[in-house]
Symmetry: C2
Subunit: 432 residues, 2 copies
């Protein structure tokens, strides 16, 4: 099946960055981009899709999420962090059943598809249920079962979390024609023990897998680690081998300059979660410094409990402006840099070599934005519009591997009413 | 004409703040709210409007805007402030004709209505054209002609800006059955001269008008004033009489503690513009301190050139989270506080005594939000949802003085296609 999208501007990706094709054509051969041109191609297509003047952007990649936490959206907002965690998050999560995780993940995927996300990196548990939601929906994801450990006497092999993580890996890695990948995960320094980190890091290297962790999200987490081990969390993880595999580290708000050197040396990607860092009062991650050092910074939403959305267009907006405000400098975060975090870098962080940009031969992970709205006029530069003016609701179409999954408010692979009904069942179970 | 809205939750306003009516009824007698109840009223209504489960909130009030700057949206983004101002803003503004200001204002009003704003305080020039756009559209506004002064030899009476400001006041104040009000304005300390500030402040007092200024937006503006006059901008304005009338002061990012005491003593309302302050790198206004002191803080978008939207739901979101991030404390900005800034306080700042909340006898300035979307589930608390999850596009209906001006994507008083055509004509004039 060959489809030609016409009557659209296209933000394409080249070796030297993004460039714009005006009133252009984008051809798709099954799941890959086969034609990009400002002149009508002569080759034959099975289907011509008139995009009505919309603007095509590369699909967005959310590199830190806890999808099923949509079920905890808005719970305990505005409370101190410890109270929020221990009185609201943990007791509710304790009640989660596999079917809840499935419903919550489906709801998350709906929100992500409708706001332009084509792939997400997710850390949670009952991951088989999220995996099924991913496979059914057509979205891409890198899932991982978070390992935490509190019993110093429990051997690595005996941890049920470890068993689940490895079972997940062997059952689902590269499923769905590679759409679904399984990463390994260590939840965080403050929720892990050394012997488990060491063994799981070695396992990750063995499997040639990617390691997904939380790192230096809050000042107290960072400072407590230094007090406890005489090392920063980044030093602690490095010394235990966690960075011997390609890794992504969510937050990195309180990483020191020498921590950033470690991330650089070990090819660890920091994931920026601006809304979560603001809402929870975590602070400002040193993103400009990371970018200047050439780190591969990704962009994430974190879970809906601490965001309270899964909308990468909102994250791009925040990433574009809050660092200006914090540094008193309007020039430091450029739209191209921010979109790169949410696309090119995201694909790299997920270990996907043929995704993350609109380029010949790449997988067709494409979103179309509607610019026909009062807040999108004038629109001299699509990148400026995307980062400073666009809203998630401007996404009119989301395509993954050449397949349209969302268009004009409709989900083509998800039964919206069924998901809503399932979510309401889960909410009844969790909160009554 | 009496209308009853049914099948909706309502965020109503009482003496002690906001409260929720579940599955309730809101009756409107012409332009005023005549009934609020959780049980069906027995009195007769001419028309019953089924709200389909939507949630009614008080209409939002944008207390600092430059509406016509929609025509400059996205221009020169990411440049240093002086370069942005002198190479892009001022030269483009120099070309503005009255018809451009009309088209730009209409576009702004469309964006504001579609994202829940029912009233705005605007500082610009060619204000008659904005006034006509306001009167035609049905929205509310407090407009003012910004006074700047650079010639020390020019007398107050001879300033064409002053003449325009006073002509505007006498022609339009309280037009449209009080929907339109005219304020006076001094642009800012760094764009004014003492004799003009003194005379215009006296005139404002004579007229019993409201004074709208910019105050301590950037560090350099604040510091330069101290260097030049030995006074902060707040002290300078106070000493020249600008605060002898009720006043609103946009930004106040760099106000000192003693400046805040001045604002408090003189009943000056600081207007918080979080997106603009972030994007332009101005910094973090001390909003918690202002609220704790009992100042009447308002919320604004600033112009679309420095935002780049006119979407108060986005501003509420930012106001809710950025101060947490800056203070490393998740508890400091509560949704009720933020909505109060955008409603109750806004009405007070505009000198409107019967607006700013859903309460019996108030003008019916009401918006309805659609909660039937993946990002709005679960929704335990409407205030939490409004500040942390809602998007401008969730606004399904905007009503001003009991009249529906926007509903389900349609503008009932504005010819959208004509405005787009006029805006395109203006853009051709400005940028070709």
């Amino acid at each position: 099946m060959k489809t030609l999208m016409k009557n659209c501007d296209i933000l394409a990706s080249g070796a030297s960055g993004f460039y714009v094709l005006k009133n252009a054509f984008c051809g798709i051969d099954n799941d890959r981009i086969c034609c990009l041109s400002e002149t009508e191609p002569s080759e034959k297509f099975d289907y011509v899709k008139d995009m009505g003047g919309k603007v095509l952007f590369p699909g967005l990649i959310n590199t830190h999420c806890h999808a099923a936490m949509t079920l905890l959206r808005g719970i305990g907002s505005d409370l101190p962090l410890q109270e929020w965690l221990f009185d609201h998050m943990f007791p509710t999560e304790d009640k989660l059943r596999p079917e809840d995780v499935k419903a919550g993940s489906q709801l998350a995927i709906m929100e992500m598809l409708s706001t332009g996300t084509v792939s997400f990196s997710d850390m949670y548990y009952f991951c088989e249920d999220t995996a099924e939601a991913v496979l059914e929906s057509g979205i891409k994801a890198n899932l991982c079962r978070a390992i935490s450990a509190f019993d110093p006497n429990e051997a690595y092999e005996d941890s049920y979390r470890v068993k689940e993580a490895l079972k997940l890996y062997h059952a689902y890695h590269n499923a769905g024609n590679g759409r679904l990948k399984i990463d390994l995960s260590l939840h965080a320094e403050y929720t892990c023990l050394e012997h488990i980190v060491k063994a799981h890091s070695a396992k990750c290297k063995d499997l040639d897998a990617i390691m997904h962790i939380h790192l230096s999200e809050t000042k107290s987490e960072h400072d407590n680690c230094v007090e406890k081990y005489g090392k920063t969390p980044a030093e602690w993880f490095r010394d235990l081998g966690a960075f011997d595999s390609p890794a992504l580290a969510a937050h990195c708000v309180w990483c020191t300059d020498s921590d950033l050197e470690i991330l650089k040396a070990y090819n660890v990607a920091p994931i920026h979660n601006p809304t979560s860092n603001m809402k929870l009062g975590s602070g400002f991650a040193p993103i400009q410094k990371m970018n200047a050092m050439g780190l591969t910074v990704g962009l994430g939403t974190d879970g809906a409990a601490s965001n309270n959305n899964l909308n990468l267009i909102e994250e791009m907006h925040l990433a574009s402006i809050i660092h200006n405000g914090y540094s008193n400098d309007p020039t430091i975060m450029k739209p191209a840099e921010v979109l790169k975090m949410a696309t090119t870098n995201g694909a790299k962080i997920q270990g996907r070599t043929d995704c993350g940009g609109i380029a010949l031969g790449n997988k067709a992970d494409i979103i179309a934005l509607n610019f026909d709205a009062p807040h999108m006029l004038p629109a001299f530069d699509p990148l400026t519009m995307l980062c400073y003016s666009a809203q998630g609701s401007d996404v009119a179409m989301t395509m993954v591997d050449g397949k349209v999954l969302y268009e004009n408010g409709e989900f083509l692979t998800i039964d919206k009413e069924k998901v809503y009904a399932d979510v309401r069942q889960s909410l009844k179970h969790l909160y009554s």
